[in-house]
Amino acid sequence: MLTSFVSDYVRYVLAGGTKFYAWMGSLGVLILGMLYVFYLQNTDGLIVTGMTSQIHDGLYFANLVFLVGVAAGAVTIVFPAYAYHHEGMHKVAVLGEMLAITAVIMVMMFVFAHMGRPDRLWHMVPPWGIYSFSSMLGWDVMVLNGYLILNIVCGFYYLWCKYTGNPINKKWFMPVVWIAIVWALSIHTVTAFLISTMPSRPMWHHSMMPIRFITTAFAAGPALIILIFLIIRKNTKFWVDDSAIKLLTTIVTWCLGLAIFLTLSEVVVELYARTEHANGLYYLMFGLHGLTKLVPWFWSAVLLMVGAFILFLIPSFRNDFTKLPIPCVMAFAGIWIEKGMGLIVPGFIPSPIGEVTEYYPSFVEVLMTLGIWAFGFFILTILLKGAIGILLGEIKFGDRQAVAAAAK
C-alpha cells in the first residue's frame, strides 16, 4: 500500500506538460549553480562570499530568518481550519503544511550554506555530537526539525488518508495538529531569540523582536500563500475557495499593519534618545560615517510595506483577485528586505567595538541564495502537485488496480 502510494505519487508528479518541465528545468539550472558555489564555499571557504569577521551573517542568515517566518506563516491556514472550522481553509490546510515543509527544508539549506564547516554539523547531534541546551541555535535546530517532522506527519497522514480513503484517526491527529500550531509559533520565537538574546548587538537586543518576527511572518507567509493559491486556481483544476483567500488577505493586512506599527515604535524609541545603541538603526535609515549602502533598501522596504498596507485596505484591491497579487508581492518583498537585509546586516554595523564596515554580497552568495530558492520552489511544486492530485482524487489507492481489472 505504501509502495503504491509512493509510486502513484511519483508517477503523478512526474507527468507534466512542456510548461511544467520548462519550469522545473530552469529551477534545475539554478540548483546546479547552487551546488557549484556550495563546492566553492567548501573548498576555498567563505571568502568567496561577502561575509567578513565584521559582518559574519549575511544573505544566508537573512533568508534563513525570513523563511522561518514563511514556515511559521503556514499556521495562518491551519489555525483557522482547525480552530474555527473554516470550511475553505480546511480544504487547503494540507497545502499550508506542504509550504511549511518546503520552507523548513530551505531554512536548513541556508543553514548549510551559512556554516563555515557544514561537514561538521553532526557535532550538534547526539549521541555522536553534543547538544547544548544553553544555545539558542541548538534550540532553533531542535524546533525547526520538530516542526518539519510534525508537518510531514500531519500533511502526509492527511494525504495518505485521502489516498486510501480511510477516515482520519482524530484521536491522535488532532493533538498533533494542535502541537504543530503552537510549535509554529515556537520556531519563529526561538529564531527571534537567536538574535535578540545578544546584548552585544543592541540593534537586536529588545523584547519586541519575537512579536515583530511573528507579525512579519504572518504577513509575509500568507502573502506568499495567497500568491500560490491564485496560481493554483489558474493553473490546476483545484479550486481554492474565495473565503480562504479573503481570510488570508485579512490576516496579511492586520499583521502587516502591526509590523509597520512595531517598526515605527522602534524608530521612535531608538531615535528619540539616539544613544550609541541606535547606531545600527541609524545606519539603516540614514547611514553612518557617510556609509549609506542600506539606506535605499530600508526606504524601499518602508514604501513597499506601507504601500501594500494601504492597497490592502482599499476594497477594490482587496477583493479583486486580479489586482490582489500586487500588494501581496509588495508585502512579501518589503518584509523580505526589512527582515532579511534590513534587520540582520545593520546588527553588525557598527561592530560591538564601533568599527563600521559595509556588506557587499558576492555573486556566489546571490547565486547560492537563488539556487536555494529555486530548490525550494522545486520541492514546493512537487509537494503541491502531489497534494493537489490527491485532494482532487486523481491519485487514489486502487484506481490503477481497478482500471486494470476493468480492462480485463
Binding site: 571568502i47 569577521s53 564547516r117 561538521r120 544553553s134 544555545s135 539558542m136 560591538p352
Partner: protein, 364 residues
Amino acid sequence: MIHSKLSAAVSAKENTSERQLQPVSADPAQAVLKTTRRDFLKTGGMLSLSSLMGTAALMTQSDDAHAAVEWAEHFQKNYRLMTDQEKAESRARLEKRYSSEYGKQVTVDTTDAQPGVLMGYALNIRKCIGCRRCVHACVAENNQSRGTKRAGEKIEWIQVLRMERGKFDAGKMNQGYPEGLGIQVGGNAYTPAGQILEGQYHYNPEKVPEDDANYMPIACMQCEKPPCVKVCPVRTTYREPDGVVVIDYNWCIGCRMCMGACPYWARRLNVTNPVLPKEEMNPVTHYLGNRPRMRGVVEKCHWCLQRSRHGRYPACVEVCPVGARKFGNLLDPESEVSLILARKNVFRLKADLNTFPKFFYFYD
C-alpha cells in the same frame, strides 16, 4: 591529578626524544620538573602506543599516512570529552600533519590548566601609544592567517582604536539645534571627546603617539561569564579552569553565534584556508592555543596558552614598548595583576553587560 601527571609524562617523553625546539621558558619540559622519574616511568609505561606511533609516523611521513591522519581527524571527539589516550592520539595525529605541512617539527602541547592559577590581564590605558606592536607580536606567535592578496586572509586578534581626544570649541558657542528656536542642543554636542567606542582602526600616522589621540587596544577579555560560551551550539568553546576561554578548532562548526554574542568583537572567522608561510610558522603550539587552524572555524585570543601554561608571559606583553600590558595570576596576591587591582583605578570594558572580564584597563 592522574591526568596532569599523564600529560606531564607525555610532555616529558616527547621532550626527551624529539623536542629540542622550544626556548627554556616556553618549553613543556618544565613539566618534567614536577614529575619524578618514577612517575614518569610508571605513567610512561601506561601511556598508549599512540604517541610512539605518532613519532614513528613522523619519520615516515608518507602521503597515505597523511591522508589517513586527516581522515581520522574528522571523527575525533570534542577535546573535553576525550580520554587521555584519545588526547594523546589526537595530538600525535596533529603533530604529524603539521610537521609534514610546515616542513619542521611541530609540537602540539596538551598541558592542562595548572592548579591555583586564574589568569588575569591588565592594560595601562594611559600608557598605550598605539604602536600596534602587540597586534603583530600576536600574529607572529599565534599562527594566524597572514595573506595579503584577498580581503579576509589577514587575521589579527588585537584591535587598537585611535580615539580623538576632542576639544570644546568657542566658535560653536552660538550654534545649536534647532536653529532660531532657543538652543536645546549645544553646538559642541557633536564634538567627540573622551572614551567612546567610535574609534579609528586604520590610523597610520608617521609617528605615534599623536597629541590629539588616545589609544585603546581591545582583544578577548576572557570573561568569567562569557556570552560566547553560552551561545555555542556544540560546546566547542568553553572556559578552562585557569580562566581562559578556548576553542577546540576541530569541533567548531563555524556557525559564528559566538562572534555575534561577543560584545568585544574578539573573535575572527577563518574565511579561507589560512595563509601561513612555512618559515613564519611557530612550531611550538598548544592544542587549545596557537596550533594552525583550518578554513571555516572561529579563533580568538587565548592569552598564549602555549606560553602561559608554562609560566611564560603572552607575546603581546613581552613586546609592548611602554610596558602597558600586564599579566599574571589573579589568585596570587603578589602578582602584577593582583597588585594593580589592589592599587590602581581599574575598569572593565562594558561592565554593564555583566560579562565579568578578566582583562582590566587601568590608569595611573
